[in-house]
Amino acid sequence: MSAHNRGTELDLSWISKIQVNHPAVLRRAEQIQARRTVKKEWQAAWLLKAVTFIDLTTLSGDDTSSNIQRLCYKAKYPIREDLLKALNMHDKGITTAAVCVYPARVCDAVKALKAAGCNIPVASAGQTHLKTRLEEIRLAVEDGATEIDVVINRSLVLTGQWEALYDEIRQFRKACGEAHLKTILATGELGTLTNVYKASMIAMMAGSDFIKTSTGKETVNATFPVAIVMLRAIRDFFWKTGNKIGFKPAGGIRSAKDSLAWLSLVKEELGDEWLKPELFRIGASTLLSDIERQIYHHVTGRYAAYHDLPMS
């Protein structure tokens, strides 16, 4: 893991003049999906790369240690061994980037991952009163979580209380200690793309290591227009401070084809330096099995049956 983003002083002049043009961003989002594709070997290699970006997620009310255990195993062995061998990729140590669970399940996950003999970090998510959230973060870190996904208070954005937002994320940062902070902006609830840009910038100034589109539980999840705005904010922050901040879209990314589009989006807007697990994650639960199916098809030339691939 790279070093933490230490953040900067709050500088409101970085966001005061920004205006994002919604229709223009929508057009760009449409274009970017039509202008870049990869086929054949390139597709297989890109898909395997996409696997290494996945934060394999389960955020259900009925999570128990058994399905967390299964999830962790899948995170360690995301693609069937023989398929990787056929691609000559079995020695690349392909695993998902992380496992993402609720704070209460962090213990289970850490145990399961230790049993599986690997050190994939664990993350958690919260959405309550600030005090509770801070406490939740501390507990999760104590339980062994190394990355913390935490959602901001949207009302601060909608009412333009940027200083308060900055302070809130600063406190998250402190509570995380050594763990990485991924700030969830819940972009579906921010109203405008201009707010998305401003919230992204504040989150980065306050010291987030990643900015994340959504919890995956809102009605509007990761969309291309929102992603374009966040990526541009990341680039602007990099140009201003030299700090590279990570990006994590989450929710609604289900198909292998989607994941390829996300990879090319990041490649186009930020460049190849961002295409590594330290700076790019995809929060998803069902995406992995679709990627595995596509790899199966690439290797064998046949479409897989449900029982051909292990469940997660």
Binding site: Q19, P23, A45, N88
Partner: protein, 799 residues
Amino acid sequence: MAATRAGPRAREIFTSLEYGPVPESHACALAWLDTQDRCLGHYVNGKWLKPEHRNSVPCQDPITGENLASCLQAQAEDVAAAVEAARMAFKGWSAHPGVVRAQHLTRLAEVIQKHQRLLWTLESLVTGRAVREVRDGDVQLAQQLLHYHAIQASTQEEALAGWEPMGVIGLILPPTFSFLEMMWRICPALAVGCTVVALVPPASPAPLLLAQLAGELGPFPGILNVLSGPASLVPILASQPGIRKVAFCGAPEEGRALRRSLAGECAELGLALGTESLLLLTDTADVDSAVEGVVDAAWSDRGPGGLRLLIQESVWDEAMRRLQERMGRLRSGRGLDGAVDMGARGAAACDLVQRFVREAQSQGAQAGDVPSERPFYPPTLVSNLPPASPCAQVEVPWPVVVASPFRTAKEALLVANGTPRGGSASVWSERLGQALELGYGLQVGTVWINAHGLRDPSVPTGGCKESGCSWHGGPDGLYEYLRPSGTPARLSCLSKNLNYDTFGLAVPSTLPAGPEIGPSPAPPYGLFVGGRFQAPGARSSRPIRDSSGNLHGYVAEGGAKDIRGAVEAAHQAFPGWAGQSPGARAALLWALAAALERRKSTLASRLERQGAELKAAEAEVELSARRLRAWGARVQAQGHTLQVAGLRGPVLRLREPLGVLAVVCPDEWPLLAFVSLLAPALAYGNTVVMVPSAACPLLALEVCQDMATVFPAGLANVVTGDRDHLTRCLALHQDVQAMWYFGSAQGSQFVEWASAGNLKPVWASRGCPRAWDQEAEGAGPELGLRVARTKALWLPMGD
């Protein structure tokens, strides 16, 4: 587990994450070429025409240089055959009700839909353009165009009553073009009942394929004929007697030459010239989105030409940094690859841009290295080009973007309007008021606010100034191929021995013709310029005789200097007048109408002296006053809003004044014709320089006495004198934006020839008299159409 298909490269790609080739199979394009035995002829009258003993030109893949087919070059007799076929087809096609034509166009759209893969692979293979742009853009738009125009055809009898199709249209396309350029023009032409002969440059098979698809639909084989041939055939096609209108798109200089050579010929001429576009980036813009606008305009194979980019100084550094960052990520490559931004455009385009960039560098601009690698040319950004250098004046070629700074919005308008071109532009600003001010102020045909290069069949697209004033799409596109019903067919008035150098050059000297006799008060004397009567520069006068040959009075003898002064005065008055609301303009026209009625007895007695019956004379005065009122009322209902599929927000179709309009009035109807021409011109916000009836200019001067009191100075300027001489001065004046000429055939020919200078739109009567007292000819919709120009203003909606 089945045999493994994976290759060895996955490991490398996993690390580098590079893009790979995404080839689109062009097997069906090759198979289609095979059906022609790899030899393409012409498609005429529903059949392939492959005459013997013709030169042929190879059609090559622009990237590999592989020979795909050979294309026969047409000769004059092939042109004649095609025009004859179109003329025969016109009889049947135009006689059918619009509904039948609508069905046929719809069927053509369906056929295109069924064979779209063939169309897009063929087009991309031969032109080298990115297949994504052809597949997702052009082919879809081609179908939308057919559907839109089918609807227009089906309602033609009601919506376009009073208009009839012109006849056979000759369409001339430039060497590098998309088949879509042809669709934009043939769809409205076919919809209203015209038939088409298209002359495409050699080695462009997509139009031939389209013609074949249309021809094989059945009952109307000859409506679309496509010939491929060299540029030397252009004048031959244009001067075919069967051709009623020539629609030309191409380079400005070629358009100018064609304008000169078609002076006095039978065919009308519609020009669409040049490819450059403009982008205005203000400091309130979303800069990242504006950079995408630059990509859309110049670096995505969507627009045909280069881009002039004006950036407000305060965001210059930011915008340039983002542009260079974005440029670095664009991919050039084979057009048939699904993941490239820019394809190749052949050696000629590369040579052109290389020359431009080298010259710009030698004149002090920064442009990076000039690549020598062919056939691709990378996106190029030119900056620091001194504004006065020659390269800053010429058209920017594809794929160059010339960036220059501006300080204020006002300065931006001055710079942007300071070119002879007037095609399209986009304005990037998040402040609505500023965006609208710039959008209204730009002298171009299309303005996009916070977008670039959007297109839709229902929105008229065209230009002004030297970009030519022909239109396609929307209602304006239909009128390009229509003429008022019942008007006599336009005939050739070509006089081979007309000497353009001497026409109207010298003024015959005039001598005193005896004392003025007559009962009326002495007529006003002088040139009416800048709101008052002035003495002519030549300080001489010409006698005007009445119907019985007696001297009626003297009028001033105007000359070149007086025309110059009049045009200047009109320009000074123009901004104020154009800025008035239509209501305010109407009020002044009504005031003039009232003044005319007060002066009725004087006017009637002057008309009587010119041989009119008293009753008829009074009727002429009354009708003149009515015309003023009618145009005042009509102008308030101009312009409208269009709704476009896929765009949230409106497109405004504005009707803007042309500028300074020169009008040479006919000899007949000395009062009515003068007022009938003056009224619409002023109502739509133009200012005018008028040459009144040569036989009896005194009536116009009487009206001037009222205009002096009613109008602000300079709105209408009236110059009397030798008609040919004044016509010459006006037609050759570069700062007159449009000219109407009602007079002799020779004069008309001269005006058409001379208009090539600044490509001003002209309307010349060619010696045909008009019934000015009839509503259709004296105040019909044709005048309303010619008196203003359209501008489409796109206003996408969204936060």
